[in-house]
Symmetry: C2
Subunit: 400 residues, 2 copies
């Protein structure tokens, strides 16, 4: 395939509306919803809108080798590219590349920033054409279904009818499940990792704490902070700190930090960061603020809270996958208490009830929810094995 349908790959200039460094976005962009706007689950419409994405590898002549990588809450489309703000390698650089788990010598890998995001895809920090000012809270509330619809339009734009595979962890896994449920005919294989078919009460609660932290910051200004040339940095940092604890496990925190003191011999008897774990958390909060938009955080957490494949299927999760031909590999991690194995097992049970082709692996690790982003050899070999065998089956099907 020629990629002539795509715009050039401009390293776009910092966006003055962003008020800070988070605006520096590079990569490919597609303008979608031009002929007809996207109808959202809320009933609102959105369009035209931009989707920012990256690709790795080459689409084969049969357009059969596309892999969609779906990112998590605070992720972005720089899955295997240097992040334009932080300068860090892609968040799945270990998995995506020549000869790697998602082998770019074999697959055409697409990763797009989700709808409502802040790294190039249209979201609350972008200009509202109706007012000429940043959307802020005038941006419509979006769902995982809306994110997946936007990804579907991106595939149309790229001329890709069927995905060989959709893969992602956490909220990325929710998108994979949504793909499998809403567009099974476009999906040969699916790898939902460390995820859930609906967000739990505890996870909604943690998200609500983060949102309240942001909205409590006077610099949030009812969501219109960009208009005011400011940003709710302190509130967003607190939201990130609270969330970050949930991404780790207690044993990992103990192993990494324990009660070790930060740059001192004895307790300081003050409210400075006495302990290394405090210093680490503060750093997590302050560095996150440099790369993420607070309103995007509100919208994306809301989309996760709203995700419920039971409710969407009249209370029956197997119905979500009725008659599916997609091959599934569900992965969970033993120390993940945010999306514990029990939640992933519910997906497996529903797939079994729907007579789907599914394998399930629980990886033994102390790294918590974040394990899907880390160097976990057993995780990598599990996904690699599944992708290889699914690819063999896919080639057989294409040839037949």
């Amino acid at each position: 395939m020629t990629m002539s349908a795509e715009p050039e790959n401009p390293a776009s200039a910092p966006d003055p509306e962003a008020g800070a460094s988070i605006a520096a976005t590079a990569g490919k962009r597609a303008l979608l919803g031009v002929d007809a706007p996207l109808r959202l689950d809320s009933g609102a419409t959105l369009g035209p809108f931009t989707v920012a994405y990256e690709t790795y590898g080459t689409l084969d002549s049969l357009k059969s080798n596309a892999v969609l990588v779906c990112h998590a809450l605070t992720g972005d489309h720089y899955a295997a590219s240097t992040h334009p703000v932080t300068g860090k390698p892609g968040w799945w650089g270990d998995l995506i590349g020549p000869g790697k788990v998602i082998d770019t010598d074999r697959f055409f890998v697409i990763c797009s920033n989700v709808l409502g995001g802040c790294m190039g895809t249209t979201g609350p920090r972008d200009l509202n054409p109706a007012t000429g000012r940043p959307y802020g809270l005038d941006f419509p509330v979006i769902t995982i279904g809306d994110m997946v619809r936007a990804q579907g339009l991106l595939l149309d734009y790229l001329g890709i009818e069927t995905l060989f595979c959709a893969i992602g962890g956490s909220m990325g896994g929710m998108q994979v499940l949504q793909w499998a449920s809403a567009c099974p005919e476009r999906l040969f294989a699916a790898v939902p990792i460390a995820t859930a078919a609906r967000h739990s009460a505890q996870n909604i609660a943690f998200h609500e704490v983060g949102r309240q932290a942001i909205m409590a910051d006077p610099e949030w200004r009812g969501g219109a902070y960009l208009d005011a040339g400011t940003r709710p940095r302190a509130g967003l940092a607190v939201a990130r700190m609270a969330a970050h604890i949930t991404y780790l496990s207690e044993p990992a925190l103990h192993r990494k930090f324990g009660r070790r003191l930060q740059s001192r011999e004895r307790l300081g008897f003050s409210f400075d960061a006495d302990f290394q774990v405090e210093s680490y958390l503060r750093h997590q909060g302050s560095s996150f603020v440099e790369r993420f938009d607070a309103n995007s955080y509100l919208y994306i957490t809301r989309a996760m809270d709203y995700f419920d494949l039971w409710e969407a299927n009249g209370g029956s999760l197997p119905k979500a996958f009725e008659g599916t031909k997609t091959r599934f590999c569900v992965v969970s991690f033993t120390s993940d208490w945010l999306f514990p194995t029990a939640e992933n097992r519910k997906i497996v049970h529903a797939l079994n009830a729907a007579a789907a082709n599914v394998s399930f692996v629980e990886i033994e690790t102390d790294k918590g929810h974040d394990a899907f982003l880390l160097d976990e050899p057993e995780f990598h070999s599990t996904v690699s094995g599944f992708i290889s065998s699914a690819w063999a089956a896919r080639q057989k099907a294409v040839r037949a």
Copy 2:
């Protein structure tokens, strides 16, 4: 014993320095550290200072029947009395009373507000005699050891040499362990519940999030908010919301709220409280602010973070209890992930290594850490049984 050493029981007038309704404190007060100030672990001194406390039942002629009830982070001395601000019954009203687990027909029960608290005992919201203004961050950082020293002075003041029993959950349990370690000769029996001999990295992390939420609120004003006639309400509410999630279990949240919507038939597609769990959390945050001081929250969480009976005993927890004659009953709850059974078991192992008299019970419940405050019949019968048998032994010892 006559209680003539105590001041009258004045329903004290609201304290103008408090800036809001949290100042209404009733109950008994003792002025301590008058002859010599209290030397704190930080090296600072404090005195004279006030300890607010409540008592239930009557001290026997041998002064042998005193039970010290130690409260948790956001608790107070109204263990079995109506709270003067909220009008709610005491937090351990189910346990303390005539014929109850801690039988006031038999025992003289004392519960005092901890040092650094905000319900009558001297803390950061009180006037600093050196400046004539509220302490704020000029209040010295205190430790669990300092809290226990203040309680020891209160016992001296009440003419009580030996406690029959010290009992408490969470931070209350830390005080019980500190009593057992620092003053074993004054303690016949000890019931540490849902606690730890040192605060874990994860728990320090959660506390740090709460502190950052408070300090991020511009109304905190570097801790001098009372001077400014304001309070960091939003920050304190966020801190409480984050903490509150850790007091519950995922199954309990699921059972209580699941994904049920709040006063609506369908999703609102907004950032209002769509889900009952959101509404519940917001209520927890806003009601807490009415009864608690933000700086006290900073100081008391810090005291918990600093608690480490290993470190205090050269890295050996058994040393903390060497040669102890105190009888222990350690209690944990299966679904408590804040102070999990594993942490309580470490206390039991150390007591075993110190050849102490110890029984250990893990209570099966889905109520999480908060189970020690709730109606848990097995928990109540466990404590009741231990207290009865320890009391029989105590009476034998007194007669001998």
